[in-house]
């Protein structure tokens, strides 16, 4: 899709992975008709391809990329889409989005313009989540806030939608074994390779509700913790310097104690949304269901007592 910028037009591809969200994807495309075209690549597991037939019928011009994603990993989907798009030399930029992210055409063009027109190149531009205006409150107190050709942006990281230069997108690989944080991985990769022009475009607002059914969502919020933890392991191993910068004091011991004592998050774990940890802690409930990760409490002590009965320690 050609997008007009101050430096001329650029050819942009759009990458959207989807999973168990037929209706949501149809609604998203209905609301954002500018995405419907041959430059929009939809990634879907081949076992779900038939289920998405209504979407294909409604929007026949979309390009579909199918793969066998077992076990389901978002990093794998993103990588398959990346390979498909990167193989096409016609594209200058790619906009990475989700099946539930909603934004208008102005946001789309502003996002691409921000990435193209920002003086320090190559630049990656992220959208500005509506909930972030809560922090801004009009004061615009952000690091390195700049206005370039009327597009306001500040230095920072966010998740999709993101406009990424194809030069970077072609040389980068997604880790296929992560189920969360693949966007963070990409930012870390860029920073480690010296591409530190990463902006959040204030004029590219988008909305997108977190923890929706489908996608990477799992019904059990504690399953999500395991995924987040394992993804963190991949990221921290790959970029130890960035994780070490924050120190291990980032471990939320209050939650760790509560989880170890058999409590669980009722709805969704913390992270992302601006909620007070004390509020989340108060919401946690006793978990009587099957324990998956946590070993049985006091096993060690019982085993020790049994042994002590037979031989002196």
């Amino acid at each position: 899709m050609l997008v007009e910028t101050h430096g001329g037009s650029v050819n942009v591809a759009i990458a959207i992975p989807t999973r168990f969200r037929v209706e949501e994807l149809a609604q998203t495309l209905h609301k954002m008709p500018f995405l419907v075209g041959t430059d929009t690549f939809i990634g879907v597991d081949e076992r779900e391809y038939e289920a998405y037939a209504p979407v294909r019928k409604l929007f026949p011009s979309l390009v579909w990329e199918t793969y066998l994603n077992e076990p389901p990993r978002v990093g794998f989907c993103r990588e398959r889409l990346r390979r498909r798009i990167a193989a096409n030399p016609a594209y200058d930029y790619v906009v990475l989005s989700d099946d539930i992210k909603r934004f208008d055409f102005t946001t789309f063009t502003n996002l691409v313009r921000c990435a193209v027109e920002f003086p320090k190149q190559p630049c990656t531009a992220h959208g500005f989540h509506e909930s972030r205006s809560f922090y801004g409150s009009g004061t615009l107190d952000y690091p390195d806030f700049q206005t370039v050709n009327g597009i306001r942006s500040y230095e920072g990281n966010s998740c999709s939608p993101s406009a990424v230069n194809m030069q970077l997108y072609r040389t980068f690989f997604y880790p296929e074994d992560v189920d969360m944080g693949e966007d963070t991985y990409m930012t870390f990769w860029m920073l480690e390779h010296g591409y530190d022009s990463i902006r959040v475009c204030y004029d590219a607002p988008y909305s997108g509700r977190r923890h929706q059914p489908g996608g990477t969502h799992v019904a059990d919020p504690n399953e999500k913790l395991i995924r987040a933890g394992l993804s963190t392991a991949v990221l921290a191993k790959a970029f130890p310097l960035f994780y070490g910068a924050a120190g291990v004091t980032g471990v939320a011991w209050k939650f760790v104690f509560a989880l170890a004592r058999g409590y669980r998050f009722r709805e969704r774990p913390p992270g992302g949304s601006p909620r007070l940890h004390s509020d989340i802690l108060a919401e946690m409930e006793r978990w009587d269901g099957p324990v998956k990760v946590r070993p049985k409490p006091h096993t060690i002590i019982r085993r020790a007592n049994r042994k002590r009965g037979r031989r002196a320690d």
Partner: protein
């Protein structure tokens, strides 16, 4: 060394890994002569043995009775050192009831050691992980910082629920079953706490009557700022891999993006890393950073 408690005498070993800090060990032994005991185990890389022997011989300490555990620590892994000390402590006969795990630059009084051991042994919930109290918590305890969680006084020893790591009493029952991850270059103490929590040991206490002090990030030990950061990151990865629920409970991303951006731009920490007693604002931390040459 034998320490009297209300529950009877306990045999206690003190386990201290050290690296490139022979002079600090000399200072430690001068300040705390009760550590010059065969039940105090110092762990060091065998390539440093000569330099340590020379420094200790010339320090005027007289006969050094401590036990030195030698190993080859190629990766400078703290987890490896701690595990070697753990194994050496477990092998010794007669058996130790309790292991006090500390650092080569931690300073505490004999009374503090006794109180730590007593607090660990006399606390009603067994087994437990009891740690000494740093300066920050003693400030809180003076009533300026609000209420302490689950503060209890057992036989005149005050303790409350909190995770700290520098001067910790570990009962034999825990040390026999737990093993430090060798690949954990740092954060092995957090690993121990998470392991305990995942095995149903929730009595993690800090004893206010067992004070210690410790200068942070002295030369030697884990290394310079960058080496520490890398080691901490890899240690964090090991924690996340083995305890994904505990680490994942705050999402998959570290929140300190402004620090990360600065590091990516070629800056590094001039002195202390964030965390521990260096809990200052991000802006202040960034102002402390220096451009790498």
């Amino acid at each position: 060394m034998r320490i009297e408690t209300h529950a009877g005498p306990r045999e206690v070993a003190i386990l201290i890994p050290t690296r490139q800090r022979a002079d600090v060990v000399v200072k430690q032994l001068k300040k705390m002569p009760f550590l010059n005991h065969s039940d105090v185990f110092y762990g060091l890389d065998n390539r440093e043995a000569k330099s340590y022997a020379a420094t200790l011989a010339n320090a005027g300490l007289g006969a050094v009775h401590c036990t030195f555990v030698m190993y080859r620590n190629e990766q400078h892994s703290v987890g490896f050192c701690r595990d070697q000390l753990r194994l050496a402590g477990l092998k010794r006969r007669p058996k130790f009831d309790l292991f006090v795990v500390t650092d080569d630059n931690a300073v505490f009084k004999e009374e503090s050691l006794t109180n730590l051991v007593r607090c660990s042994v006399e606390y009603p919930v067994q087994p437990n992980l009891t740690s000494g109290s740093g300066e920050l918590m003693r400030y809180y305890a003076s009533g300026k910082g609000g209420a302490l969680k689950d503060l209890r006084v057992i036989n005149d020893l005050r303790s409350f629920e909190r995770v700290t790591h520098i001067f910790t009493a570990v009962p034999r029952i825990i040390y026999r079953r737990f093993a430090y991850p060798v690949e954990s270059l740092a954060a092995e103490d957090r690993y121990r706490t998470m392991w305990a929590l995942s095995h149903g040991i929730f009595a993690i206490r800090e004893c206010l009557d067992a004070p210690y002090s410790k200068p942070r990030q002295q030369p030697g030990g884990t290394g310079g700022a960058e080496e520490r950061m890398r080691a901490t990151g890899l240690g964090f990865a090991k924690l996340a891999q083995d305890f994904p629920v505990f680490v994942g409970c705050t999402g998959s991303t570290p929140a300190r993006w402004s620090l990360i951006m600065q590091i990516a731009k070629g800056y590094t920490f001039a002195g202390k890393l964030p965390g521990g007693s260096n809990r200052v604002s991000e802006d202040e931390l960034i102002s402390q950073m220096v451009k790498k040459e």
